[in-house]
Symmetry: C2
Subunit: 283 residues, 2 copies
């Protein structure tokens, strides 16, 4: 479980890794970090974000850690486990922050078989701009934290992972299966980013800013997007994303037809349904 | 022009009419209001939102007013001008807050021919929930105000209208033609509402709220929508809206194809374009 004696190691000190570190330090935990980028480590040391920081994969540091949190791009995470996974103590708990689970969970649990327990998690928090210098322990406030266990996970692993979410002060902690998670994330996160990007790409009008209201501004906030990370997330969850895009496109085509047919009552019906559903978010 | 001797009459005391009244009163102007709903008038009187309020169309009040601001649904506005337009003094200035202009401008200018000058305006400010009780003079802060003149308008009319936008402390005041306005509004306002409504209608998952991040929340804020007003706005600007929906759909189909084809570089290209365009909004 998680207590003040738990030695926490964060691998990957970007926006999320850095924010985890800041929040955990704030709550009095011991936090070490590995990041291959020397500037990142320099920055983290200077601002005292962590207790110990290194740009090398130090064998003793890994062996000494009780809870390892991976905050890397999916494929770098997989590569890391393949190369260094054997260094993790069998009684350690491994978790992550990866936004897709299908391509990660089985692979990592398979590579750690007989060793440390990997319990996947997805903190639904972030910011448009990545990097350790944008770290902010406030991003967890009001946000959702999803634990995504498999049948290979133990009660101890799941409870430790939930305790981490509670320590970080997420507003809600839920549990989903890998398939449920990837389907849900395709809809609420990847699809919304597709929509925002499409909308900004649909016009080259440079004067939009002079005419927009809050609705356009809010809807396109996420159109300023990290192309490396998000193209990866889209393709790593491709089939689920395409299925959710199809569902949304059907709904959009429906409203299009109702406008085209001057179907006022049909439009109002869709609006009443969307209002009813959206109001659930206000509670 | 607009000064402290200008007698201002607001017709229609909903969210926008009420917010205009509050801001104008705050700045020391004399403001009267007509609204056919007695509860609205009672509320406005009780909270002293205006200097004079009535639920009747009083001939003397109309004849006495220098600047008339119509904050009614488009078709009620047209009906009002048809019935009472002749009561407006020929040297008075008439403006509005209507979200579509094509169906309004020519008709109102035609009916007032030889009488008062109608200079259309569109304040790009609002709230999800309508009605005088949601009035808030703060909604203009940071917002855009668009003056939509025709060749029938005079310098005096246009300047008065702009002075009103400045008095209400809008962040930016722009000028567009009727056609430009309706095309732009179809894209930045009506299309965004179509997207949000479609997205909420695309799934009946009642647990979304447990899993969403800020992106979904921001994107669907406007899905809680007044179905009477918005179905009207959509159909009153139908051709322009369908054209903008087509443009957006083409862009969405493009991102869909690139995901389907595992075209990572093509995806990143769209993301870089959308990021570049969205960053213009941060200035």
């Amino acid at each position: 479980m998680l207590d003040k004696n738990t030695k926490i190691l964060i691998i990957g000190l970007g926006l999320l890794g850095g924010s985890y570190a800041m929040k955990l330090k704030e709550k009095g935990y011991y936090v070490a970090a590995i990041d291959t980028d020397r500037d990142t480590i320099g920055y983290a040391r200077k601002l005292k974000l962590i207790d110990y920081a290194t740009s090398e994969v130090e064998e003793d540091l890994i062996k000494d850690s009780d809870l390892l949190i991976f905050a890397l791009y999916p494929h770098i995470f997989l590569e890391w486990i393949k190369t260094y996974g054997h260094l993790i103590r069998p009684d350690a708990i491994v978790t992550d922050v990866t936004g897709v689970k299908g391509i990660i969970t089985d692979a990592v649990q398979g590579m750690l078989e007989g060793g440390a327990e990997f319990i996947p998690a997805h903190p639904m928090a972030g910011k448009g701009h990545l990097g350790v210098e944008n770290s902010d322990p406030g991003i967890f406030k009001g946000a959702n934290y999803i634990v995504v266990p498999t049948e290979k996970n133990t009660e101890r692993g799941i409870e430790t992972c939930k305790a981490l979410g509670e320590t970080l002060e997420f507003a809600r902690i839920s549990t989903l299966s890998t398939a449920e998670h990837d389907k849900m994330i395709a809809f609420v996160s990847q699809l919304t980013h597709c929509i925002a990007v499409s909308l900004m790409c649909a016009t080259d009008n440079e004067h939009l800013v002079d005419y927009t209201g809050d609705s356009f501004r809010d809807l396109t906030r996420i159109a300023d997007i990290n192309d490396e990370m998000w193209s990866g997330l889209f393709l790593d969850n491709r089939d689920e994303l395409l299925a959710e895009m199809d569902k949304y496109r059907k709904s959009f085509d429906e409203i299009y037809e109702r406008i085209k047919n001057n179907d006022r009552e049909g439009l109002r019906e869709m609006m009443r349904l969307s209002s009813k559903r959206r109001r659930r978010f206000n509670k």
